[in-house]
């Protein structure tokens, strides 16, 4: 079922009814009285029994991501009523054991050629390769994996999620600006933790920071919630972080959410925490309120009855990019929309204080990265003074001369 039917009744009923009555006219956008042209977007995402987060405040929601996509659809339809275009979304959930290729094909068989995906990187690749012969395009809203933009890049995958290297560089620029340049790096014991640690090490090197020591925090399993867990944590973390060389900031690489949340206020030395806890680099934060973002936050809360997360923003941006393509080309044809998005004229506004554009060498969306302490946005990178000949946003992540991506 298309979820547009699900969200329409909730969204400003009076305004929407009135919108339907609007005359569709105007020289540049002379619309026909015919039925609106339909742009169908797939939303393919993984549902798994997610691990309990360290903080109850970080509990996952059933509509993580797709709620952002739905808001994007609603925003696109706000414009579509003036351009005689209509947007809808098809929600397809897969399990870790499902075949991502077959799932992508099932959407394509329904004629859906624009698919937003929130999947782990291996599933993104499988879906992309299955979609390619049919000419379908994926919008990767969920994976921050650098290899998907580098050695494993695909010409039919556009990325709205930032990469690990972009996130790490955004953090490193700020820590360098603060002159917190001696880092104690603590890495989790899972493969994705190691990847994030690699990105942080690369960032430290690029921006002149030193990793004074690296420690690995082993995931020994066990339940997240115990009635008196706090007693042990209070003793374990100081012990784990003691006897470190002199350092300014503890940087944690814990994508698996095993320990980083326990670090702030519990380290042996009185030091701030950054990375996977404390000061966290992210594409969006529920507290972000600059550059008109309050309107976005309000619209999202109205729609989803909760606050907006990074994955929601990444999905919204993907759907809005498709909307921009449809508006600017005056076309509902997926191929025309994608050609426009990949063209130099493409730009999209996403409440980040500047336009977002696409890196033509690997189809990664350029974007400022917010640094959040969980309550407020502390800063936004790139930091002032990090210059670049093309775009200061290209000081975040792998740049054109370094890329291993060959799009073909």
């Amino acid at each position: 079922m298309t979820s547009s039917c699900r969200f329409l009744p909730r969204a400003r009923p009076l305004a929407l009814i009135l919108l339907y009555l609007l005359p569709l006219s105007g020289g540049a956008l002379s619309a026909r009285a015919a039925d609106p042209a339909e742009v169908r977007i797939g939303y393919l995402h993984l549902v798994e029994s997610k691990q309990q987060p360290i903080s109850l405040l970080d509990e996952p929601n059933d509509d993580d991501g797709i709620a952002g996509a739905r808001l994007g659809i609603e925003d696109n339809n706000g414009t579509g009523r003036f351009t005689n275009q209509h947007f809808s979304i098809e929600d397809l959930r897969v399990k870790p054991t499902d075949d991502a290729a077959a799932s992508a094909k099932s959407l394509i068989d329904k004629g859906i050629m624009l698919i937003v995906v929130d999947l782990p990187h291996a599933m993104v690749l499988a879906a992309a390769d299955a979609a390619r012969p049919a000419g379908a395009t994926l919008f990767d809203a969920g994976s921050i994996d650098d290899s998907l933009r580098e050695e494993n890049c695909r010409a039919n995958v556009i990325h709205t999620a930032p990469t690990r290297s972009m996130l790490a560089d955004a953090l490193a620029q700020y820590l360098s600006w603060k002159r917190w340049q001696r880092w104690l790096l603590v890495t989790g014991s899972h493969p994705q933790d190691a990847l994030y640690a690699d990105a942080l090490k690369r960032a430290a090197k690029r921006f002149g920071d030193t990793i004074v020591e690296e420690r690995v925090y082993k995931d020994t399993g066990g339940a997240r919630r115990t009635d008196t867990g706090i007693v042990q944590t209070q003793r374990q973390i100081p012990v784990f972080t003691q006897n470190a060389p002199a350092y300014d900031v503890l940087v944690a690489a814990d994508e698996s959410n095993v320990f980083a949340g326990y670090l702030p206020y519990r380290t042996w030395d009185a030091r701030p925490v950054a990375g996977s806890a404390g000061l966290v680099p992210t594409s969006w934060d529920p507290a972000h309120d600059s550059w008109g973002a309050v309107q976005m936050q309000n619209r999202f809360i109205k729609l989803a009855q909760r606050r907006m997360k990074a994955i929601d923003m990444q999905a919204w941006t993907a759907v809005r990019m498709i909307g921009e393509g449809a508006t600017r080309t005056q076309s509902a044809e997926p191929a025309k929309i994608v050609t426009y998005i990949k063209s130099p004229s493409f730009e999209v506004a996403a409440f980040k204080g500047q336009k977002l554009t696409l890196r033509d060498w690997n189809l990664q969306l350029r974007q400022p990265i917010l640094l959040s302490d969980g309550r407020t946005v502390v800063s936004v990178s790139p930091q002032e003074g990090y210059l670049h000949q093309t775009s200061e946003l290209d000081t975040l992540g792998y740049d054109r001369p370094e890329t291993k991506c060959k799009l073909n």
């Binding site: 305004a15 609007l22 351009t83 309107q295 730009e347």
Partner: protein, 342 residues
């Protein structure tokens, strides 16, 4: 807390932020020599978005003489044609406040609908048009009756409002839909929609009604629209050497009465562009304070005032010489500006 932050940033930012300030002592000196002649006593009213105040600036003395407490997050501001009342969007209070310019106090409010941001008055001052950002609506208010007459659905996140010289058309811009919506004020209905670049913020008519200019903050352009054919007939782009293109974010626009020159505020580019309104060529960039948002002329068009959000000041531009002659400290995050008719 805030002063400390700004100080810290200034230290690290260097050039861009501090440059205009360095220019001022010299310019201010030049000023004292050129303001000997009296003849005007205009007052500028500046909304301070973060302070919840309006700064009253005596443009004769070129200094802030009073601060009026208003509602939360004041942004859009207009003055009645007779100069007696200010109408101020207090967005976070969901009202438009009325300030008596004689007593300089809030004397009432208008039923604006939620989150009003920008507003425009018709020539007679009887009708107020304002945008409700959260609800994708334009509200028409009868000022005397203090009553909403109509609400017109427009695109997502409406902002800019421009009333045509004959009062028959209001152009509203929608920031996420990226359109200029032409509203017939008699029919109270949208009659045309024109697509412009990303995040259109402001619409301004030439005084002869021949063109409407719409600024696109994120797109970095100004679209020139033919208001009869409803098509974009030209697009103005800006380029400042040494400045990244993303920093050029056009917002406020003003035309001289003779229709020869246009001024465009370029946001974080910290400049006001001077544009030949006939050829659409940019003639000059005037360095003002940081993050310049809105503009207003004195009624004699001798001076143009710009609000500079980040540097907490306004710049006074001498229109004849196209020079910034003075910066005046106002409240925190100045946003909009209205100037008394006398």
């Amino acid at each position: 807390m805030q002063a400390q932050l700004i100080g810290k940033q200034g230290f690290h930012q260097g050039g861009r932020g501090s440059f205009p300030r360095r220019a001022f002592p010299f310019l201010a000196l030049a000023m004292t020599l050129s303001t000997a002649s009296p003849g005007f006593a205009y007052t500028a009213y500046v909304t301070n978005e973060r302070d919840n105040t309006v700064s009253v600036v005596d443009l004769d003395k070129m200094q802030t003489v009073k601060t009026i407490e208003v509602g939360q997050r004041p942004r859009g501001i207009v003055i009645s044609p007779d100069g007696k009342f200010l109408y101020i969007c207090a967005g976070d209070d969901d009202i438009v406040q009325i300030v008596d310019t004689k007593t300089q106090e809030v004397v009432g409010d208008l039923p604006s609908g939620p989150d009003p941001e920008l507003l425009a008055l018709n020539k007679t001052g009887e009708l107020l048009y304002l945008s409700n950002e959260n609800d994708a609506l334009v509200t028409i208010i009868d000022v005397k009756e203090r009553k909403a007459l109509a609400q017109i659905p427009v695109g997502v996140e409406p902002e800019g409002m421009g009333v045509s010289p004959d009062g028959k058309i209001v152009v509203n811009t929608s920031e996420t839909t990226n359109m200029a919506h032409f509203i017939d004020t008699d029919k109270r209905d949208v009659v045309a929609n024109v697509l412009v670049d990303a995040r259109p913020r402001y619409a301004e008519w030439k005084s002869d009604g021949s063109e409407v200019w719409v600024s696109a903050e994120v797109g970095g352009t100004v679209s020139v629209i033919d208001p009869v054919k409803h098509v974009v007939t030209g697009k103005i782009t800006f380029s400042v050497p040494g400045l990244r293109s993303e920093a050029i974010q056009p917002v406020g626009i003003r035309f001289t009465k003779d229709g020869k020159l246009a001024f465009v505020a370029l946001g974080p580019a910290n400049r006001v562009a001077v544009v030949d309104a006939q050829t659409h060529q940019v003639e000059k960039y005037l360095l003002v304070g940081q993050r310049v948002w809105q503009l207003a002329f004195t009624p004699d068009q001798k001076y143009l005032i710009s609000t500079n959000g980040v540097s907490n000041d306004i710049s006074i531009i001498d229109v004849a010489s196209l020079k910034v002659i003075k910066s005046v400290q106002v409240g925190s995050f100045p946003w909009g500006v209205a100037i008394s008719p006398e």
